[in-house]
Amino acid sequence: MSILIIQILNSLFYASVLFLIAAGLSLIFGVMRIVNMAHGTFYAVGAFVTAWLVGRAIALGVPAAWTFLLIPVGAGAVALLGVAIEPLLRPFYRRAEEYQLLVTFGLLLILEDVIRLLWGGLPLSADPVMDVLPSIRFGGLIYPGYNLVVIAIGVAAAIGLWAVIYRTKFGVMLRATSQDRRMASALGLNVGLVYVSAFAIGCFMAGLGGAIIVPTQTAVLGMGIDALILAFVVVVIGGLGSLQGALVGALIVSFVRTAGIQFFPEIELAVLYLIAAVVLLVKPTGLFGTA
């Protein structure tokens, strides 16, 4: 029984991170109609920046408990990166989707090597953050307390994002721009500002995903590429441009993956793509997406 609970918690943990990445991807697509192939790499940058900051802080003697605050800093750094990069993407908003895919694919290649340039080939870790919280015992097994915090952050992010989009004026602007850019502009909205903000928020989410996961793993080169394909599967299942889609998709992907690992270890890889293919065949816009 306790194994079941732990696997459920594991799935929720994984889903939280997936949700953050996928929601960012979906938001950017929803508002700007851009599929950002470099999104996974933003997640990686979040992980690396946070791990690096934690390493520096510990070296400077900062007590471990304070390093928790570095997580939003890492995410914020990625948001800033997004703000810096967005102007380069502007010429492509009106162009064919193919070009956007390719430009962001080129961005992926560039950023992957920039990460390597800045931080080298060895994995970076940020365990001190994780050690701050004790492991919880139940039923003879233990579960790291930090993972529960990650789940909490995931839930908070989901609620927060929903609140921003559906309960604030800014959210209205976002939704208006995503539904009809020209009309929104005609009504006097500063579309350029909305775009930059949406992109920054999307990048913040990806960076946050990287920042919260790096204490449990390490930041390794290439982590962005794997994350991207998973995020894709999530938004395919959930629907590009939909927040609930990202949430539901993340939960589905995560639980199926865990079930696969627990019961059918051989098909771990294939099952995700099969689900994505099936969803695409039945409802190509995803469970919650709109064409």
Binding site: G121, P123, S125, S135, I142, P144, I213, I261, P265
Partner: protein, 463 residues
């Protein structure tokens, strides 16, 4: 086929020549090789050109495998610098190195090897970490008539199937099947009471090979073992939490894992949080085989810490084997870190080549042809920092006694290292198939010659 006879376990291990010793002691594998031709003292014969000797070194400079790849490059460079300080090969030909990133993918690596030879005009190709690349590059090297000494890429497949009669291709580090068998022997020696085994391995040929040979060996060394859980995370996975939970749910006595590099670092950190190490013993093939400083002191102690059966820098330790002590000192001075088995492998590669060139020169004078150099490499024994290395003439594979140790935190080092009192050495000839053993496809369809050899010749232990 004969039924395997039953044998007492202790006798079995004794027959395998397993010794457990301290790092300061010479183990079974340190028989000093006969010093044959005193070529080092003799001046070179004949006229030697002073054109540079160009080498190509391909290894992982990017990706999580870089923790294994960069040390390979560093060992190579250090050897080249030392040899060049004496004027180069035969005192006249300095070593030049061009590099390439193995992470570019097998396809690109094949193209790059061809380019290095046809355009870059290299005389020697070395490096390679991944088992996926040696079977692809070996045949290409043969095709190009390019002298090639692989540092790793240890898969049995290279000399079992891909290049069964190598002429130009060599490989210096121990063969892959030795890994699984070494871990099995280490397990049987140390934890003879384990019966329920869980497996977590990266989902590719290395993981599968390690699992297969471990199981084959262990079921003969320890009666009644069973596999209670299996997980095959994709190579490059960073989230092992579900795999860890699954393994724990099966209540095993021992977890065996071939996860390595950056993946292993993520794995053990996550496993710690779940209390895995308190619930079962853990045996690994490559845990401490990476650049030593990559495994921090948070790594649990008492884990059977494999080093790909090859080498860990603290063994042989002390003053019993000065070759290693000096090598480690020089390496640390040069690179400000400690060597791993790939550094030692690539370092030894250039020195064994040097010895072969010198001997060949004594035989024929002038700069020797590759054929003569190859003839000297075959059957060559060499005293390396890790011990005695021997290149078997039939399959051009390097053999040295297998070692495995246990993780421990020592005050001398800021990272997890080996328990100096519990190093296990196994003579390599007792855990690899002999030269005449038929390869896969020649009368059997096992995955490796070693697997067939175990099935046909190893007895089963009782008690």
């Amino acid at each position: 086929m004969d039924k395997p006879t039953a044998v007492d376990r202790r006798k079995f291990l004794g027959a395998l020549g397993v010794t457990v010793g301290g790092t300061g002691l010479a183990g079974a594998g340190l028989v000093a090789g006969p010093q044959l031709v005193k070529a080092a003292g003799e001046p070179p014969k004949g006229k030697i050109p002073d054109t540079p000797y160009r080498t190509g070194h391909m290894t992982f400079f990017t990706s999580p495998a870089a923790v294994l790849g960069e040390p390979s490059y560093k060992g190579h460079i250090m050897a080249a610098e030392e040899i060049n300080a004496q004027g180069g090969f035969l005192g006249k030909r300095k070593i030049e190195t061009i590099t390439a990133d193995e992470a570019a993918g097998t396809d690109a690596n094949v193209k790059e090897l061809r380019r290095m030879k046809l355009e870059g005009k290299i005389d020697l190709f070395t490096g390679i970490i991944s088992s996926g690349n040696t079977p692809a590059l070996g045949p290409v090297a043969e095709e190009l008539s390019l002298l090639t000494i692989f540092v790793d890429g240890c898969t049995d497949f290279l000399f079992d199937k891909a290049v069964p009669q190598p002429k130009y291709t060599f490989r210096i580090t121990n063969i892959q099947s030795a890994d699984g068998i070494t871990s099995a022997i280490g397990t049987a020696q140390t934890w003879p009471q384990v019966r329920r085994i869980a497996h977590i391995h990266p989902d590719y040929s290395y993981g599968r090979n390690a699992a297969e040979h471990f199981t084959l060996a262990l079921e003969r060394l320890l009666p009644g073992t069973e596999v209670v859980s299996e997980s095959w995370p994709k190579l490059g996975t960073t989230d092992f939490t579900s795999h860890i939970t699954k393994a724990m749910s099966a209540n095993p006595d021992l977890l065996y894992t071939a996860v390595w590099g950056g993946d292993y670092v993520a794995f053990y950190k996550q496993a710690l949080r779940y209390g895995l190490f308190d619930k079962m013993k853990v045996a690994t093939t490559l845990a401490l085989g990476v650049a030593p400083h990559a495994i921090g002191k948070d790594h649990p102690e008492g884990v059977l810490a494999g080093v790909h059966s090859n080498y860990y820098f603290t063994y042989p330790g002390g003053d019993r084997w000065p070759l290693n002590k000096e090598f480690v000192q020089r390496y640390h001075k040069r690179w400000n870190e400690y060597p791993n088995f790939q550094s030692e492998g690539s370092y030894v590669t250039l020195y064994m080549l040097k010895k072969a060139i010198e001997r060949a020169n004594q035989l024929v004078g002038g700069w020797p042809d590759d054929e003569v150099i190859i003839s000297q490499l075959e059957g060559m024994g060499y005293d390396a920092p890790s011990g005695y290395v021997y290149i078997r003439p039939d399959n051009h594979q390097g053999y040295k006694d297998a070692v495995i140790g246990f993780s421990k935190n020592l005050p001398d080092y800021p990272f997890s290292t080996w328990d100096p009192n519990r190093v296990i050495t196994i003579p390599i000839r007792n855990i690899t198939a002999p030269p005449s053993w038929p390869k896969p496809g020649q009368g059997h369809n096992e995955s490796t010659a070693a697997a067939d050899w175990i099935k046909k010749t190893w007895p089963k232990a009782t008690g």
